[in-house]
Amino acid sequence: MSAASRSDLGVKLAGRAEYGVDAELPGMLWAALVPSPVAHGRLRRVDLGPARALPGVVAVGADDLATLLPRGAGDAERPIFPAGEVAYRHQPLAAVAAPTLAEARRAAAVVRVEVEPGPALIDLETAFPDWPGPDGARSPHVIAHVHARHGDVEGAFRTAEHVVEETYRTSSVHQVALEPHACVATVRGDRWTVRTTTQSPFGVREDLSLLLGVPESSVVVEGTWVGGGFGGKGASLLEPYALLLARAAGRPVRLALDYREEFELGRTTLPAVIRVATAVRDRRIVGRRVRLLLDVGASLPGRDFATGYSIGFLLGPYVTPTFEVEGYGIRTNKPPFGPHRAPFAPQCAFVAESHIEEVARVVGVDPVRFRAEHLWREGATTPLGQPVGPFGLAAALERADALARRWRSEAPAGHGVGVGLGFWSTSTGAGGEARLVLSATELRVEQGERGIGSGSVLRGLVAVAERALGLPADRIRIEYLSTAEAPFDSGVYGSRTVGALGRAIVEASDAVRADLAGRMAVAVADVSLAVEGEEIVVHAPGVRRTVRSLLRPDEASRGIVATGRHFAKPNAIDERRVVTGSFYPYTDFTGAAHVAEVSVDRETGAVRVERYAAFQDVGVAVDPATARAQVEGGIAMGLGIALTEEALWSADGRLLNPHLLDYRIPTLGEVPVPEVTFVEGFLGAGPFGAKGLGEPPIIPVPAAVAAAVRDASGAHVTELPLSAERVARTLKLL
């Protein structure tokens, strides 16, 4: 199947795809946000008077919520505008709208804001200069505390032949979807409608219902094309402000971020410090300890997902007879932590892999062999007691190792080759529903999400329906509907579209077949579909009927409707191993082994990636061209995390590099065209045994690059990114 079969390519190549930034409604106003001038403080006053005095300007702030919201207030925990504490710089304190963007910006600039500045916590390490002690969890800075253990860890460390202990630091990275957040809102009566660029129309609807204090049935979210999501467009961000302004103005309001604001307000991965220790006896790992300090920004208690979920990735896909892990989510004065393609997992894999490599070297075993000997295989148990299902990582590692050896034998002086592993699990999200409509001539998939470009909706779901019903792709059409009409689904994130929603498509396809079999009075298993001329025809032994002839009169205009569902999987964690906090249960196990060849400049420390290869456990590649594209894209994004991407803050919470010039993502000349190999046959939870693939390819990249840098130069860099400066410092060139 060629990539050209994606039905969105034509409209996008012609420049006719309407993204969030393109949405426009007659009579709409343009909006701007009024940002907090400090990272932390107490809000004294927001005086909208000077803005309201300007012609055509509408302004809303905390004081207006009582009149604008039907219940007088929204979510008490998450007020749209803060009334007391200001938690991060650029936090919106008010919003204004005007006939032009320039006027809106001028109006925002004249709003008088008084904040009494307070001490800001920016660098998470200052919260615990000596690491959290026994009552670390009681610190006001800690909003999440997770702790798990299993077996006699103390004994394992006491009797070990080798103990390797290290500290790692990882950086803050931004999604950098090229399209900034943007939406247009309209309020008519009690109907709050927003056209927006989102990965999750239903997630945004739920958020808005809570934030605005209106029922979900009053909120309508229309998803536009999305100019890249990568996790950054999963929850609501601008929609509440735009809706409030639209309500106040009685006209549609457009609110979009410029790229600087995109950086400053982005909810994304924040820095972390990790301590890992491994105890080895007879060349076997006998104990592990991990402690994590994770900057979760201005997240609210109970809303942090990352601290508990990260811990498993820090231990790596390795058999660990005894362990103790403890993680602290530290609240700092930055925007709240948010998802970024496999949130924080590439950083965790960098730590897990760099550390295991170090352990192997100390023990004196070949690092790849040491890994292979400890790797989970099907039937093994994860540290938190979950049984490991079909898992292709060992097979991937074997092939990656063979390639790495070849590349190493060919590599010129100054080059190095490294292998990095990563694992992931397809998320199911909150579940969802698929709706298929079979007409006389086509199959429609009615859908609220447009997908985010990965092709998971347009190619992935279509490929699943193709396979499930035996219809060609050109007779399957995705029809995008607003949340008022589309079946519920939790969104395009967590590598779940094909894996989870795809199962609902299979179920709905089975329902279509059963329905047709019933109408024709034949056995379901005997039914097959085919296209003959214009018509879709149903065959069974001795019978041939057009779909048209099977439609009831009331179905003639639409078709046969069938639905399928999927649900979140039950939590399979062994709770006896959990001391406190919530951890992340796996639905299936996806692995990848990547190989990087790099050169390191011995004077500057600059790293260049010369060659790259991925061996990716995919279960079944439902659509190989689309799957390959996911891997290629994930690798490039991972190279950014590995080498250049790092958001930097000043001590008073100012983002120092909110531009693509100083926050550098990989460019065309910096990413080699990778070799991509699918490892198939280790079946996952998705349709036909597919595993989610949106996130897994990014995970092993920093690990593979770090191993290659170490191989090339001897530099064991324990911080991300591996910038020229860090490599040079590690090599004592600076």
């Binding site: 090229l178 100019g227 890249g228 894209g633 990989p666 000349g669």
Partner: protein
């Protein structure tokens, strides 16, 4: 704010602009004054290439260009792809190669590559063309499919 006028030809159609702020950028003129939104706004600081258009055949970042500076020029954007031979060629090649995912960087890449092909000719070495696209960022594809698309645009029969 002083106001200004400009007369452009955009994708073959005359655009006579009046009452326009002096500092209006070509990107905003195209997108909001003329409603030609195929050209995308990314960074607005010249760092992403999403806003690339051709001004008298030359690749130009519309976010860094004042409309009044290009008064009298012929502007070609992705919206005019069908009427320009190089743009059509690149569009076909990108479709064949699947050189896009979200598509947000795509108008910029297509127009920039078409500009390079016009300037250097279809026989220009692949490396030279790829070099000329260094200013265009793509976050989705990892560039691999774009590299395949560029190769096709060179080789594909006219």
């Amino acid at each position: 704010m002083t106001e200004t006028v400009a007369h452009l030809t955009v994708d073959g159609a005359p655009a006579d602009l009046a009452g326009m702020p002096d500092d209006e950028r070509l990107l905003d003129t195209l997108r909001w004054r003329l409603g030609r939104k195929g050209t995308k706004e990314g960074c607005r600081t010249g760092d992403c290439g999403a806003c690339t258009v051709l001004v008298d055949g030359r690749s130009t970042l519309a976010c860094l260009t004042l409309t009044r500076e290009v008064d009298g020029s012929d502007v070609t954007t992705i919206d005019g792809a069908a009427r320009d031979a190089e743009l059509s060629r690149v569009t076909r090649a990108f479709a064949e190669a699947g050189a896009l995912q979200c598509g947000y960087c795509t108008p910029g890449f297509v127009v920039a590559l078409a500009g390079l092909l016009k300037e250097r000719g279809r026989a220009a070495p692949l490396e030279e063309l790829l070099d000329g696209l260094q200013g265009n960022l793509c976050r989705c594809t990892g560039y691999a499919a774009i590299v395949r698309g560029v190769a096709l645009a060179r080789e594909e029969a006219p």
